[in-house]
Symmetry: C2
Subunit: 138 residues, 2 copies
DNA sequence: TATTTTTTGCAACATTGGTGCAAAAATGTA
DNA sequence: TACATTTTTGCACCAATGTTGCAAAAAATA
């Protein structure tokens, strides 16, 4: 596991540091998406807030994690399981937010449907976020 | 126009105040979604920030406006054109964010496609946000 | 008009996120 | 390993965003 983490960092030309290892490890072990606050909570304040912010930014830029839209003014991050690269994400799966446990999970197998837009619109990225009750809560 | 505004407020059992009239008017005249900041900018600081926050909250609760998910930690609001009621929104249209002009618009005519979820998941609401280039920018 | 109810503005606070810069850690080389 | 170079981190400080309690003001009701 710790090997896999170092590999991911190396592959993305990132220095291997305690903070990055710990945060990447959290993502690898989390079934759902994580917010900045979740990460800070689980690191026992061993890292500065700023470091967490910068690590998340870096990971998004490198295509290690992607973010998920929400209506409640929070940013959620989840591991990219597709072959995302630096500066170019290829995540095309549906995201699910459970109203009960409040977890957000990537439904890797549920592919975003095609949507036909009116004339004149060019489509770059489509995000689908579905809320309801997850398979663990019911 | 000013009649229509008063009617909407009355129908929702809201007191008719300057602030509410002005903000509702902004939504009725805006082609796209509005953020809190847009509203503050356009009201010449004639209202307190807190009043704007509270007005937006109230409008969402009453089903006059709905909010739109974003990945950048901002909350966007747009008029409900379907028959949304207090505590129960029925908006089922696609939202489009233009990468050029940065405007977000409701594509009232583009209906959210059906998405089949894995066993065990119950679907309540589906949000589709598409980004790209809008019909005015290209 | 007078009374009651609702809304507003203010002050104060909390949370979230960003920047510059020096110290510390990681990397590359000998 | 030791040293030089590059990268990352922590700190202090700042800015934007959003919330709450409460008294004053405005709106609705009688
Ligand atoms: Mn995802
Ligand atoms: Mn809309
Ligand atoms: Zn759940
Ligand atoms: Zn545009």
């Amino acid at each position: 596991m710790m090997e896999q983490i170092a590999d991911i960092l190396k592959k993305n030309q990132l220095s291997i540091t305690e903070g990055r290892k710990k945060i990447l490890n959290m993502f690898l072990n989390s079934p759902g998406a994580l917010a900045h606050a979740d990460i800070e909570k689980n690191t026992d304040a061993s890292f500065d807030r700023v470091t967490v912010y910068r690590t998340l930014q870096t990971f998004v830029e490198k295509g290690i994690i992607h973010n998920i839209p929400t209506t409640d003014n929070s940013i959620l991050y989840a591991l990219c399981k597709d072959n995302c690269e630096a500066g170019h994400h290829h995540d095309n799966h549906v995201h699910f937010i459970c109203d009960v446990c409040d977890k957000t999970i990537c439904l890797e197998n549920v592919i975003i449907p095609e949507v036909r837009l009116p004339k004149g619109f060019t489509q770059k990225q489509t995000d689908v976020v579905i809320s309801g009750i997850c398979n663990k809560c019911k």
